[in-house]
Symmetry: C2
Subunit: 510 residues, 2 copies
């Protein structure tokens, strides 16, 4: 794609915009590497000092993004006559910077600084509150954060619901009006399915995981499957951290982490596959987007769809284990010698309501998200108050999942998100599941032998499809544009509902 620009003012602006975009992207790449380093490699005594150094670079990126130069470039490149002569790639870049610029500019500088200090302190308070199971320690910070968020929503503006302004940060274009019916449909079917599973009287042999799985052998197995499922280890790394994550430096340098537990072989295994889903997405972005704002996933929800797709739709399929089970059985002969692949498959798809979101199974996970979504929505609308959250939380847990956490640490305090002001983030996780199921339906149309390919270990055919249809585009399309381009329709909850119904009917013989 080429810009067909003749106007010399626009031409000049384009070149300046390219330089500025590249500088911001280069600095962001370095910040990404530094973040990874501080979590994975840095010795503890240097971290406090380094935080100041990286803070200086972050500030520089912020200043460049909201600079007068950026403002005037966006102005020049957004007016109709110029925009009509720009190619789609340039237009997408302008769109991204414009969104950020307009938002950042509407918040008064002192308000933003107060808020930044608050969230830094809130994170410490949350850690202490969770550690000591004392919600009251976190409450004053949470109340203030919600007040700020409500202020920000008013400043940003929104169509119908103040929560829309929060969603926009993580999933551009998504609103309460769109999300409510999607989640309602998913909730209804999930609760019903969960009930039938619990009444089925056909438990999975989940106890096969209650054994010792040698950590060194787990590491070997994880490194063995990573390249087979499509993650290029010459363009990335796999390390260990308590909280697994994926971090991109550039498309040739994508770093995953996982966590090995001797008595929980599933944790590293599905953690690694999940992060690989994020990582493969980033490795497959068009290299021409390198050094630009487009070198990133389309949205949090689309990113999560790629990790969920690989972890659940592929990694928890029967065909996946038909292919890999001999290897894992061979690696852990003592634990698995009397376990059939069918039993193993059923065990990795065990449904069991629990307190902790990050440990939840594929089915009940979405119920955890809906509880948070409803709470955040009501907080933003002023319908509930932060001080009542422990009670509301436990009530909803009982209502949706049939369990009540014994402590706030296992309940309302379990997630870090609110402490950094990440209201509107949680829905991304379930959006990921919804997108993934819709993409699954489409890929099965395009590759009728989808499951056969998995069974044959031909993950390359699947990754080629994902690259061709999703990964390569990076941030070129908005999430809504992308899902329509790929599947021909807007996000539709029906596909996840069908997928879960079919899968668990089979696993539990419903």
């Amino acid at each position: 794609m080429e810009n067909k620009v003749v106007d010399p003012t626009v031409q000049k602006a384009l070149e300046k915009f390219r330089v500025l975009d590249e500088k911001i992207s280069h600095f962001s790449s370095i910040i990404g590497l530094s973040d990874w380093d501080q979590k994975v490699m840095a010795p503890k005594k240097g971290r406090h000092t380094f935080a100041k150094a990286i803070g200086t670079l972050r500030t520089e990126v912020f200043k460049l993004s909201v600079s007068e130069e950026m403002g005037s470039l966006i102005d020049v490149l957004s007016v109709n006559e110029s925009a009509s002569s720009l190619d789609a790639v340039t237009m997408a870049k302008v769109r991204e910077y414009k969104d950020y610029y307009q938002k950042a500019k509407t918040i008064p500088a002192d308000l933003f600084q107060e808020y930044s200090i608050l969230t830094a302190q809130a994170n410490d308070a949350w850690e202490e509150a969770r550690g000591t199971n004392d919600f009251d320690l976190f409450l004053p910070y949470l109340e203030k954060i919600i007040n700020y968020k409500r202020k920000f929503a008013e400043i940003y503006g929104y169509e119908e619901h103040p929560y829309d302004a929060m969603l926009a940060e993580f999933e551009p274009g998504l609103t309460v009006k769109k999300l409510d019916p999607l989640f309602a449909k998913l909730r209804e079917s999930t609760v019903s399915l969960l009930e039938r599973i619990q009444q089925s009287g056909r438990p999975t042999p989940a106890e096969i995981f209650d054994q010792s799985y040698d950590v060194e052998k787990q590491k070997a197995f994880n490194r063995f499957i990573l390249p087979l499922i499509g993650f290029d280890l010459e363009a990335g790394r796999l390390d260990e951290t308590v909280h697994p994550f994926a971090q991109t430096v550039n498309t040739g340098d994508v770093r995953l982490t996982t966590r090995y537990l001797e008595h929980n072989v599933r944790s590293a295994l599905f953690g690694t596959i999940h992060e690989a889903g994020h990582g493969i997405y980033e490795q497959n972005i068009n290299p021409e987007f390198e050094g630009s704002v487009l070198q990133s996933g389309a949205s949090f929800g689309i990113h999560e769809s790629q990790s969920r797709f690989l972890e659940n739709m592929v990694g928890r399929s029967k065909e996946f284990w038909n292919y890999f089970y001999p290897q894992i059985q061979n690696q852990f002969p003592e634990a698995l010698e009397n376990v059939t692949v069918e039993e193993f498959y059923r065990a990795v798809n065990t449904v069991q309501p629990s307190f902790i979101r990050v440990e939840a199974d594929e089915l009940t996970y979405n119920l955890h998200i809906m509880i948070r979504y409803e709470i955040e929505k009501a907080l933003m609308a002023g319908e509930i108050e932060a001080k009542d959250l422990p009670a509301i939380w436990n009530e909803k847990m009982q209502d949706y999942l049939g369990v009540t956490p014994g402590t706030d640490t296992e309940g309302v305090l379990q997630d870090v998100h609110w402490s950094f002001g990440g209201i509107g983030y949680f829905p991304s996780y379930s959006l990921g599941n919804l997108y993934a199921a819709q993409i699954l339906r489409k890929i099965k149309q395009d590759l009728p032998d989808f499951y056969y390919h998995i069974e044959q270990g031909r993950f390359d055919l699947i990754q080629d499809w994902l690259k061709e249809n999703i990964h390569q585009y990076g941030k070129l399309y908005t999430p809504n544009e992308l899902i329509q381009k790929v599947t021909g329709e807007e996000l539709n909850a029906e596909y996840l509902v069908e997928y879960l119904e079919k899968k668990y009917s089979e696993v539990y013989g419903l």
Copy 2:
């Protein structure tokens, strides 16, 4: 120390200077971390792209260092009336930025850019030339580099010898006039000592190293001694690379690398101790200098003195092995069970002329440096030509060391330095040895039980002295100021001559 500033113009300039210094230092810290990462951690497919990102940050640091703002701040803070009211710390910071600013400003931008491109290409050419033992591949680049360097010397200016302008970059204040007699004295005594060693007929049992030393056990031993000799592993790391180095992120994050060879236990052992000498220096710099240009060693030569002191004066002393030998013997019983500590000590101090500088022993090492020094000096003075270097090199090797390399790869092509334009760098290595011996003499006066402390493993007492007298000051003093402050006199070759004479007389029973 406090600035007693009253003039509001100076007050304002001081605050701006502090902010600018901090920004440059923060960015430099991030560049340091990134350099380490690319050498130690980064997957290969991402490095080319990341080089562009880090290039952007380097350019930013350069622009800030030569910015108009920096120029006018230096002006304000350098005039007599302002300078007289500044504390020593601020004056040292101004001195550092002023030196750099004045130099950088004198080179026309286009000349500097041509030169930057040349050295990037020259490095590739050198690698190929060394790999294929073909000096002619590198020659045209080397000729151009020398031409540029001679141009730069004329632009920078110098007192007597154009090489002075090169030395200034690595060892401020040092000149050919000062260095010639130091090296002459050292050469004379070294050549004589080497002759006597070769005639002694009392070889060391160096063959004890021609055995297999398990790499995992080597790793364990290296990690065991590091904290004992003073390197804080909670404020640093030890990793592996082909070419060992030390890299500082900040005083709480200093990263060393080493290289383990199964059939060369000395390589990792003394390599680690050497890098630890650099690392401990950086860990001990006054934390108040953090985030400023002073958070670094005084010069290349002083830095090298700290690594050489720990590696040679401490790590190759008899008392060091009286303390550590039981542990290393215990670690490698098969290789060392019939070797006495006296034999081990003599073996680690084996003198053996050889072709490769980085593998040379403590005595002949300085002869390798002098060959390079004399060649560089003559090139800068136009007394010899680059095309004649292979012949000149081999002649000097025969003359000084009594050996002639079979190939240019083992001769004139062995070092990377000329390919990046690092003319003037080599003397730092021998300066390190000279400084170290002079410091040794002083520490033995202050701590008369110096060797007893080593024998007792009381490295803390030695490191406390080094911290108190050298490390804490970072870049506060120029190297010449520092050595005078510590030892009461200018650099004097006599101490190294005496030290080597005494040590090798004992080792070889002269």
